[in-house]
Symmetry: C2
Subunit: 431 residues, 2 copies
């Protein structure tokens, strides 16, 4: 048997994921050699704090003091970037690596969502791979499925539960009847949420993933126009109200091609309890793709954690080990299109609206007249006095109407003296 070519790997960043990858890769060299046309070898490791105590032992000879040397070393074929963040070291490393004709594997969704177009231009020019399966939904092989398994299809819609942390929080609030804060704390205690969980709960993480998916699905350049809402304004009461009405609340990322325009949005949604998407609980992720001719395809799995992420990183590394050189966004930059964005204003939704109001005469009539004058028609209205008996909570389910009219009505209501706090709007999806 001919001896296989060795591909030298540098891993930069050695947190939970980097450490797990190092261990797994070291233990599975032979298995990967069997399945691919060249053999992987880790030659360098770099991390911010070399002296930090780690559970894994790394030979001194592999430590690289300056991570940027990985991008410059003639010995390195593949750089695995696990630093994170769209700017700073991660950005410098990946740009420099591609310019120096190294293949890059990254789990960095923020970087790809922001600089993916520029990076792919360099990768394409230098005929190296830029692989980012691990950046979207951890172990769920959605990037590879879009680029290869579903290559025949014209995709009109991609949607899903794309963030395990927020989904874990919403699931805990539903199942264990926890408040948002308690559910967040629990997620942090279990390692499902970081000490600073902001990008997970404010929708930014989902937005990065959705931009990448939408670009791949619609053969377009990355599109920055995106409507983003997080889950931080949802409380236990909303979860209970939704439950009574037959819904669960999920943070969805949805990108659609409508009349040749792209509409990208991230927001909590009420989904029917009996729907497939409602069954995606805990840290699970799921992506649903509407394609022609294939119909609807769904891929579901572990969205985060060192194990699942390593599964994705290894699939990227293996692709390079097989010499499977590909355009980073499936087609050449010359063929990618600039697609106009559609505005949320034009989209049509039914919605769950929750208002807390002072208990005064004429309030209900005033509210309904505001909706009516904005052409929002009400399908269901439930008024419940609050325990203090001085205020009531009103839950409204609207019929389908333009997003614009929904938000206008809420803005009008906000100004009314009888409204306590901020009125809430959660859209209903696929009803």
């Amino acid at each position: 048997m001919k001896k296989k070519r060795i591909m030298n790997i540098a891993i930069v960043g050695l947190g939970n994921i980097g450490s797990y990858l190092y261990k797994f890769l070291s233990a599975n060299i032979k298995q990967l050699e069997k399945k691919n046309t060249s053999k992987p070898k880790i030659i360098f490791i770099s991390a911010k704090n070399i002296k930090k105590k780690r559970k894994i032992k790394i030979p001194k000879s592999k430590w690289l003091k300056n991570y940027m040397d990985a991008a410059k070393s003639k010995k390195v074929d593949i750089i695995v970037e696990l630093i994170g963040g769209a700017e700073g070291p991660a950005k410098n490393l990946v740009f420099s690596a591609l310019k120096n004709k190294k293949h890059v594997v990254t789990a960095n969704k923020a970087l790809i969502a922001k600089y993916g177009d520029d990076l792919s231009k360099i990768a394409e020019k230098n005929k190296v791979n830029l692989e980012y399966e691990a950046a979207v939904c951890g172990g769920v092989p959605i990037i590879r499925s879009l680029k290869e398994g579903l290559i025949a299809n014209r995709i009109s819609k991609v949607q899903g539960v794309l963030n395990g942390t927020s989904n874990y929080i919403l699931t805990s609030m539903y199942k264990d009847k926890l408040s948002f804060q308690k559910a967040l704390k629990k997620a942090q205690d279990l390692g499902y949420a970081e000490a600073n969980p902001s990008s997970d709960i404010n929708g930014d993480d989902v937005a990065s993933k959705l931009k990448i998916l939408s670009s791949l699905c619609f053969n377009s350049f990355l599109n920055n126009k995106i409507h983003i809402e997080g889950i931080n304004f949802i409380d236990k009461k909303d979860i209970i109200n939704a439950d009574k009405l037959g819904y669960k609340i999920k943070l969805l990322g949805i990108a659609e091609l409508i009349n040749n325009k792209i509409c990208q949005r991230v927001h909590p949604s009420l989904v029917k309890k009996t729907s497939y998407i409602a069954s995606i609980d805990g840290v699970l992720n799921a992506v649903i793709v509407d394609g022609d001719p294939v119909g609807q395809s769904t891929i579901q799995g572990e969205g985060a954690g060192p194990e699942a992420t390593t599964s994705a990183l290894i699939s990227d590394i293996s692709s390079i080990l097989r010499g499977n050189i590909k355009y980073p966004f499936s087609i050449s930059k010359k063929q990618r299109k600039k697609i106009i964005s559609d505005d949320m204003i034009n989209r049509v939704f039914s919605a769950y609206i929750k208002l807390d109001v002072k208990d005064k005469h004429g309030v209900l009539s005033n509210i309904t007249s505001i909706f009516s004058s904005n052409r929002v028609s009400i399908k269901r209205l439930i008024q419940d006095p609050n325990p203090n008996k001085l205020s009531s909570s009103i839950v409204i389910i609207t019929h389908n109407c333009k997003n614009d009219l929904l938000t206008k009505s809420l803005k009008k209501l906000e100004k009314k003296a009888y409204i306590i706090g901020k009125p809430k709007l959660i859209r209903i999806e696929n009803d």
Copy 2:
């Protein structure tokens, strides 16, 4: 831009799938050229009955009288085999094509399940691709996901709803309370079942798919030891009984690696109504893979029909258009293993058992003593008098016990004079 190499394609077999593929491929040449490194061109078509009236128009110059010429022609790079069947013309064509160094794309699960090892040996030797994404679960990109997206994982179990026809029948029996015969007739009327539906309902179709999946998952040669039961013995009453007990009945294909032995089985199973697998209704297919380190991954989508199958065929063709030469079974034949089979005898199940009995004194006591002497312990027993009042139907849910003891008990019962018809056994899965 450099002109791309042209890859010449011959399509052999022009039923529903072949016709749809021809239309789709002809209409999407440019799109496929954009996404791949060479350009596809259909140069030959062959089918059994050339003179048959077809909905599509094919230029005379493309018609090949003798399909075997496709395998021999120097012009042809890729042969798409859509004849079907493990023997005869399909077998001759594919063997000859690979011997003549043509890439082969096929939707033929029977052929791959039977001759996949021999075929892959030739493909490997001649450095051509043998692609069969369309052979397993139509448009669901499971083969590519196993070979690439989940390449890092050691897989311990693969299971799923792998046949759309039988699943449609079981779903109709459940939802519309139809008899097996009426549900089959409905499936035939809607084009979901063929005039001769035997391989769909007797489990053979699932068995072929499961053998292929299991070989890919466990890096083993194809394994012929497989337990197969179909759905033809299930009647409306079983569906209703299961429903009352909180279950749906699904035809599952399950392959597991247990103590380094492979256990392959295809049989109807009772699955909890709230489980994910119970939600796979109608013609949908779903495959669940347990992998280390990724955890559980699920892929779901349209399992059959010309559209979904074409999606899979095009992904196979595209893989060849990108020059992505791969071992047909993920690793070289030298690395594939012969794995011993485990016998169903050793497996442990709880089960649903249904007996029809003559209403005589002492019958129940005799039945329970037979189970007891075979160490089958009963969790639940429901006896209902039949409308004629001369007989009763008895439904038993057992505790977990060895498969062997379950079948032994049933064999003993079968011989009893008080038993009407054949006792039924349906295993309960993932309870």
